[in-house]
């Protein structure tokens, strides 16, 4: 099967023993040709063991690096092992592995380097608090203005990337607020991205880590990070082949 693309699904997980197994299982049922890589970001629970028991490849980081460092390690694995496409899926179960097909299709048909699964395009029935909606609207506005392209859901961590983007992420990946910052990074490197409407469910376990007062603080920090990113020197893309 020469024409089949090598696909890797990266699931960054930090103390997600309650949901990581189910997510990995679902990926295998809906996308049988893909490999699943769980990046265990220094969990203190059974995340690693459960993921292994479901047949996933598990990359155990020696200590907690945060989502940015963990995702980057996943992309480094994808680069090293020659995967053509890497998909990132949250371990908490809010991304439905059934929807991965849509991301892959968009990557192929729109000839883009990264496809972002958006909750806010089309017939979205995603429910969230007003505060959260306002926050995301502001992010979306600022980021869309910077990259001169409508990005409705810049905080979505449900994404598919091609080989070119994988190589970029393996060497340069934002560490603080990777989801919105990656959008800026891609723009600076002249890589193309696009959004795909996807349904997202509520998390299996736990509340969103962002509460009301904290969300304002979070927003300011992210906007600051984005602002600083605009002045960073864009990394040079290395050429393969």
């Amino acid at each position: 099967m020469e024409f089949m693309k090598k696909i890797l699904v990266i699931i960054p997980a930090y103390n997600e023993e309650g949901s990581v197994g189910k997510v990995a299982e679902e990926v295998y049922t809906h996308l049988s040709q893909a490999e699943v890589l769980v990046v265990n970001d220094g969990s203190t629970d059974l995340t690693s063991e459960i993921a292994k028991s479901k047949g996933a490849i598990v990359l155990d980081l020696p200590f907690n690096l945060g989502i940015g460092g963990a995702m980057q390690a996943g992309y480094q694995y994808a680069k090293e092992k020659g995967y053509d496409i890497a998909i990132q899926v949250d371990a908490d179960g809010q991304h439905d592995p059934k929807e991965i097909g849509k991301l892959l299709k968009a990557l192929e048909e729109k000839k883009i380097d990264m496809a972002i699964g958006s909750r806010f395009i089309g017939d979205s029935e995603y429910k969230s608090s007003i505060m959260r909606r306002i926050g995301i609207a502001i992010f979306s506005g600022v980021i869309s203005m910077i990259v001169r392209q409508k990005i409705t859901d810049p905080t979505s961590g449900f994404r598919a990337s091609n080989r070119k983007a994988i190589q970029l992420f393996a060497s340069d990946y934002p560490q603080d607020y990777p989801e919105p910052e990656v959008v800026i990074l891609l723009h600076q490197c002249h890589l193309k991205m696009g959004e795909v409407p996807v349904g997202m469910s509520e998390r299996y376990s736990g509340e969103s880590s962002i509460t009301k007062i904290k969300s304002i603080y979070y927003m300011i920090k992210v906007l600051l990070a984005i602002f600083v990113d605009c002045f960073k020197k864009p990394p040079l893309l290395e050429q393969e082949r």
């Binding site: 155990d60 020696p62 460092g69 480094q76 694995y77 560490q175």
Partner: protein, 129 residues
Amino acid sequence: MLIKIQIIVGVLSIVLLLITFELIRKKRLREEYAILWLFTGGVVLVFSLWPEYLLSQFFVRITGIFYLSAVVLIAFFFLLLIVFHFSVVISKLTSQNKELAQQYALLALELNELKKNGFPPAQASSINV
């Protein structure tokens, strides 16, 4: 009054210099970090030796502040430099630490897979030799 301040500041800067030298000698402080400290100690020492002349007088004239305040201000400025230098160093260390953790995890995974599947024959024989 001035002579008292001079002695205190002078002794403090000499102690600072001695501690820095001693730490470098014992290799507990890298020269990279020591240079700023040596410089700080040196400048403050110069100020305590010749309060009426040189830099201090010049400094006092252009800023219009008193001798002790000038010394404190200059020491504070150097401390700022040192702290800033530390922030840069910590950022670099954090990023190197992250890279090490990632490479370690990737190698550990690779090694485990090799162990599970058995080493390829060519490599196994080269290990035996």
